[in-house]
Amino acid sequence: MRHELQSLKYRIRLIQLLTAAEQAALVPISLDKLHAFAFLADVLSPVWNLRPFEDRIGRTGKSPYYPDLQKELDLLVAMGLVEPSELNYVVDEVEKEVRFNALYALRFSSAHLTKLAGALRKDETAVREQAFLNALAEALASLPDEEIAQAASKDLVYERSGLDNEDYIDLDQMSGTSRTVRAVASFDQAFPGSKLTPARRLYMYANYLGRRAHG
């Protein structure tokens, strides 16, 4: 039961992420960009006074990746809610691993999806989450070449540092005061007297990550 509930939550989260990507014209969105978007949504959720969807994520040395989220995404594809394209499996002989790539978008012709989307629009929390994800997707769409995955790798929490070199990140233990959140709060000091909106702060942080990613 617990597993099913968790599974359901993942799928709703995925529909919300893909809806936001749709709004910001980021679809079809590649697997790595979608995971990077999911991570940035978790790490930046305190800016919108929301709790992160997923508290923990393992550091891979590449861009952020949630195995459980991917599993549910595969299932959404199989259920016909998400349409994949440009699927391919690449065997990396050096790393002895198989990498899977695809582009994803919501399948709006699905009656099931229409029903789900209608239900989400009636849920107050879901509406707030969707507004946040939409604003973040808009901000990420402004990155050069939409290099969301590269930018997410340069996030202040995700990037390994002398202060935090652990193999995984636990946002719950940071109690909403992660380095990322502190950096976003510092934008207010950079512009004294002007009250920055949360959406504007997201935009500025995305811009900051873009500059970090591209030197």
Binding site: E4, R56, I57, G58, T60, Y65, P67, D68, Q70, K71, D74, L75, V77, A78, M79, E83, P84, S85, L87, Y89, V91, E97, V98, R99, F100, A102, E166, D167, Y168, D170
Partner: protein, 667 residues
């Protein structure tokens, strides 16, 4: 003290305030019997001259200034201190700081003749003779002070200083004597007792006062200690069981604190474990994902070869369909369906309709080996198992961690409450009986010392009582003489009927000691609104101008009654200030009545009114000898003082005014 200074001659040299004339530099003035006048307008130095006379007599000494009280202190406070203005009062009045200025006064005290010369920059004695013999000059002027006391018949120098300051001199610093019981008592002591008795009076009051003060201090300390003792004894009775309760609570608290420490250590270990498990769990998720992708990739490839016409999406869906063992339609676990699908693909049968696809079998044979695929499946199975077991372990440790945190919270709240309880019990702990015993000893010891001081005070009071009994009759007799003189003098000034009546008043020389009866004189005067004489116990009961002259008349009467040979010079500063023309005549009448041989008065006049000088020096006359005689009585500051602007421009008018006064004319 029954002899007072009679001023004879004053000289002032090199003091720029009084340059004199080229023919007669400085001041050289001989005081006459009767009235002498220091005449000059404002700013010519009349007050300075009065203070100069005073300082020549008493030197750089003064009475302690009790600014908090306008009243006289008790005899116990009688003391001589250095005068703060000794190095500044005269120097600051002239440009050369009075470096070479000096003044000399010749005066009589009974049969003794004194001359005193002092530097005006320091007030130090430069020379001093007593009956023609030079006296030894020292820093504290002991020889001069002793000689003065002997000649004046004063018990000590402080009595001489007090009498000169408040009886002989009636200047700006004057304060009420008639309306101040303490002041009356001091003057009765100084004037109407022998020097030995006057000295003994002070010593006894000092003994009584200090013994009383020490006894009171000890009594206060004893009171505090007794309070502590009572508190302690009460605690001893009412909190007998506190010790046992405290011990029990402390044991419980220690147990709780020990348990809390254990839990804290356990929580630390759990935290470490959780971190490790979570790290491994996240890693296992990634491993599982990689293993899954390997399996998927093989299946995806196989499906591609079996169904070359299927779209990628359909292949992907089929891959997922038989990868997860779960029905994507109803989401139920269905291992049979997975086995069926696996079998169909391995047997080259269509997964949907079951048709034989052997033609495609060849393609499969040359693809990946079955062993590799089995190994990939095995890896996935292992990775999933590891992930599940780590997830279970994390859940279980997290549960334990939550329980430890809750117990820690409960324990901390309980321990904090118990700490407060222990502190409260500790404050109720009865004191150490040994401490109480020490406290009792201290109280007893202090009580004994308090009794000793009280006995000292009582013993001094007994001697004091005998002294008062011995002198009171003499003082009462003297006060009746004072009353007689006063009546004669005040009659010259007041229109109203007035008198002094004798009364004894109750007072004590210490705060808590015995009460004594002291002689005192009370002023009574008729008033327009009342029948008969009314008691005027306060200076506020008479008008401002009356008050000044009533008090002056009282001083004169005291001096007249005390002076054994009748000789005294009183120095009075500008008495006409607050009077109208009629009362100015009456004031002059009062002064002249007093200044009958052998008594004399030195008075200042600021030439503001044409009444005072003729009233003091005599009626109108053209007799040149008489006018010259009067002129000798006047120290004309218009001629000897450094002229101010008023004198530079109007000297002629002022001189004419004074000249008219000398001739007895009222302008």
């Amino acid at each position: 003290m029954n002899r007072f200074p009679v001023l004879e001659r004053l000289t002032v040299s090199n003091f720029r305030m009084f340059p004199g004339s080229p023919k007669s530099p400085g001041i050289d003035f001989r005081f006459q019997g009767g009235i002498s006048v220091l005449a000059g307008v404002n700013g010519l130095g009349k007050t300075t001259l009065i203070n100069l006379l005073f300082r020549l007599l008493v030197g750089p000494f003064d009475l302690p200034k009790d600014s908090a009280s306008a009243k006289f202190g008790s005899a116990a406070k009688a003391n001589v201190v250095s005068w703060p203005g000794r190095n500044t009062y005269f120097p600051q009045r002239v440009a050369d700081r009075a470096q070479s200025a000096s003044a000399e006064l010749w005066f009589k005290l009974g049969h003794s003749q004194f001359s005193v010369r002092r530097s005006l920059s320091t007030l130090k004695l430069q020379s001093c003779t007593f009956n023609g013999e030079n006296l030894e000059i020292s820093g504290n002027e002991q020889a001069y002070r002793d000689s003065i006391c002997v000649a004046a018949n004063a018990g000590q120098f402080v009595d001489f200083l007090t009498a000169i300051k408040y009886l002989t001199f009636f200047n700006e610093e004057r304060r009420d004597i008639l309306w101040d019981g303490q002041a009356q008592r001091q003057f009765f002591r100084i004037l109407f007792t022998t020097p030995e008795e006057a000295r003994e009076w002070i010593e006894l009051e000092q003994q009584i006062s200090s013994a009383d003060s020490r006894a009171r201090n000890m009594s206060n300390s004893v009171y505090q200690l007794e309070q502590d003792l009572n508190e302690g004894e009460k605690l001893l009775v009412s909190n007998a069981g506190v010790d046992a309760r405290l011990s029990a609570e402390q044991t419980l608290l220690d147990t709780e604190l020990r348990r809390r420490r254990e839990l804290e250590l356990h929580a630390e270990r759990l935290d470490e474990d959780l971190k490790r498990i979570r790290r491994d769990l996240e890693r296992s998720k990634l491993n599982e994902d990689l293993a899954r992708r390997s399996v998927e990739e093989t299946r995806f490839a196989r499906l591609g070869r079996l169904f070359p016409n299927l779209t990628e999406t359909a292949r992907y869906i089929l891959t997922q369909l038989y990868a997860d063992g779960r029905c994507l339609a109803c989401e139920r676990e269905s291992p049979q369906a997975q086995q069926r699908l696996e079998h169909a693909v391995e047997s080259s049968l269509c997964v949907v309709c079951g048709s034989d696809l052997t033609a495609a079998q060849r393609l499969l044979e040359n693809a990946e080996s079955e062993d590799d695929f089995e190994e990939a499946i095995e890896r996935l199975s292992l990775a999933s198992l590891q992930r599940r077991s780590l997830a279970d372990e994390e859940r279980s440790r997290d549960q334990e961690w939550q329980e430890v945190l809750k117990e820690l919270g409960d324990l901390t709240a309980s321990a904090n409450a118990r700490i407060k309880k222990v502190e409260a019990l500790r404050s109720q702990l009865p004191p150490d009986p040994e401490d109480l015993s020490k406290l009792r000893s201290s109280i007893l010891e202090l009580r004994e010392r308090e009794d000793i001081e009280k006995r000292k005070r009582q013993s001094a009071e007994a001697v004091y009582d005998r002294l008062l009994t011995r002198v009171s009759e003499r003082i009462q007799t003297a006060t009746s003489t004072v009353s007689g003189y006063f009546q004669e003098l005040i009659g010259c000034f007041l229109e109203e009927e007035s008198k002094l009546s004798f009364k004894t008043i109750n007072d004590r020389p210490s705060q808590s000691g015995r009460i004594f009866r002291y002689p005192s004189l009370r002023f009574e005067m008729t008033a327009a609104a009342f029948d008969g004489e009314q008691i005027r116990s306060s200076p506020d009961d008479v008008s401002e101008s009356q008050r000044e002259f009533i008090d002056l008349a009282f001083r004169m009467a005291l001096a007249e009654a005390a002076a054994i040979d009748g000789e005294i010079t009183m120095v009075i500063e500008t008495p006409e200030a607050s009077l109208d023309a009629v009362y100015m005549e009456r004031a002059a009448n009062l002064l002249c009545t007093f200044a009958r041989d052998p008594r004399s008065i030195v008075v200042t006049s600021n030439l503001s009114c044409s009444v005072m000088i003729p009233a003091l020096l005599g009626p109108e006359t053209n007799d040149q000898d008489e006018i010259e005689e009067r002129r000798k009585r006047v120290l004309n500051l218009l001629d000897v003082a450094a002229p101010n602007a008023a004198v530079r421009y109007h000297k002629r008018q002022y001189s004419d005014f004074l000249e008219a006064g000398l001739r007895g004319r009222r302008v």
